[in-house]
Symmetry: C2
Subunit: 244 residues, 2 copies
DNA sequence: GGAGCCCTTTGATCCACATCAATACTATTC
DNA sequence: GAATAGTATTGATGTGGATCAAAGGGCTCC
């Protein structure tokens, strides 16, 4: 749509108040005036190219990041080189919360595709959330949600077999795509089999075999990174009826 | 000890300002006047007998809990009965953060021994932390620390072998006992082999065998739940030099 | 302080996933 | 549009920890 309105319009268009992710993100539950206050705080945006780091383990912590476009993975690396993907993040989700505790980041955040984040200086966020109760509460909910999510991953890693883990992963992805207005049953994974494996505590070959098995059983149609879920109840059954 | 002093004295003795756990807990970093404000907020204390629940998954969320005495485990239970211990908590640590996100708890908290917690009504904590910057910041650090800890557990569950997991667990316990003024090398575990196994994603037999192996190799002296660490560097070596 | 029960240890066997290996597919890059 | 590197699939074999089993030890609770 061509427009003769001044440049400021473009800026407003990328502000929280105009962002279509605001129900998933930090502005959730804020009234319009409060969202405007948040807008002032969210200054810079930062573009991150595929495979580049948003931050690295050990980096000083000054800001958290809301994903505006694209997606990321976070991972932890041990001295001996072993690494573990701790999460995949999509638009509207917040990155960097790990840095609050020590003033330094404790994991790496890497873009899975060309992405863009909103930089939210943390001390200013704390300042504003002392004034805006709804912002404070939403921020606490976001942190708590991360803790609950992590517990789910622990359950997955500690008690589930390979196919259950992959089923849980696919259902989780489906649910998150749905929340963003995409198809629940058809989507494109941005991460490799190796990265999925690292997240699920499996080797990439095991992930690949599980995908093949799901395909044989008519649960999903897999074409590389393109996934079509054919039998959601079937996947859910895999999770609940533990056939051990 | 019989006493003729008024009841209030006893109450003050158990207040944050008088609590020897205050450097580990919520009052950390607060000046004396601010700690007094926190004292007013922390009203009730609650005694929990061994094996009893502090809260259950599904319970409504109204408060977080600081452990004054004793210890707890938290676990998540799946519909099919499988469960996973997500953490062990000691004095000065905070329980219940999982409840913020949905207003309902998403895990169970169970006392490993007769214990006592300080009940911190959450809405009042949010209110006070809007006024007291240092309290706000300390609370955020505590939540962030939980997230970082969870990432460590994911690394453990996803990438380590049985003996590495147990070594990491023992070193972590040692460090936490040390922070509480106890011996770094000699302590009493409050949880069973089964609970350790659940936390580490292992069966109790595997935990038992790993303990026996550590004993044979002179790394620790194990007598049921009483542990004496004989070779801390040896345990650390087990972690870093991944002999796969 | 004794009975009963839960917890722990240890051994034998099994199996799910890792590892090793080769091939095929896809996407980039020039 | 051919060359190349990264990614994915599939097969054969190995192994760490699970499972099954049995006995011993130490708490807890009357």
């Amino acid at each position: 749509m061509k427009s003769v309105v001044p440049v400021t319009t473009t800026e407003i268009k990328t502000a929280c108040s105009q962002c279509n992710l605001r129900e998933l993100c930090l502005p959730f539950g804020l009234d319009p005036r409060e969202v405007d206050q948040l807008d002032e705080l969210v200054g810079a945006r930062r573009k991150i190219k595929r495979q580049q780091h948003l931050y690295r383990s050990g980096d000083g912590f000054e800001a958290i990041y809301a994903i505006r476009a694209g997606s990321f993975k976070t991972d932890v690396i041990l001295e001996d080189g072993r690494d573990q993907v701790t999460g995949f993040q999509m638009t509207g989700e917040v990155l960097g919360l790990d840095g609050i505790s020590t003033e330094h980041h404790s994991c790496n955040a890497i873009a899975l595709e060309d992405s863009e984040v909103c930089v939210i200086p943390f001390s200013r966020l704390e300042e504003l959330s002392r004034q805006v109760e709804s912002l404070q509460h939403q921020f606490h909910k976001i942190m708590s949600r991360e803790i609950v999510r992590d517990h789910g991953v622990m359950m997955l890693l500690g008690s589930m077999r390979a196919e259950e883990r992959l089923a849980a992963f696919l259902l989780n992805m489906s649910q998150r795509f749905t929340a963003r207005g995409f198809s629940p049953s058809e989507f494109h994974l941005r991460m490799t089999r190796d990265e999925i494996g690292s997240y699920l505590g499996l080797k990439l070959e095991t992930v690949s075999r599980a995908f093949s098995r799901f395909q044989e059983e008519g649960l999903v149609a897999v074409q590389q990174k393109h996934i079509r879920i054919l039998d959601t109840p079937g996947l859910k059954r895999l999770l609940n009826h533990h056939a051990a």
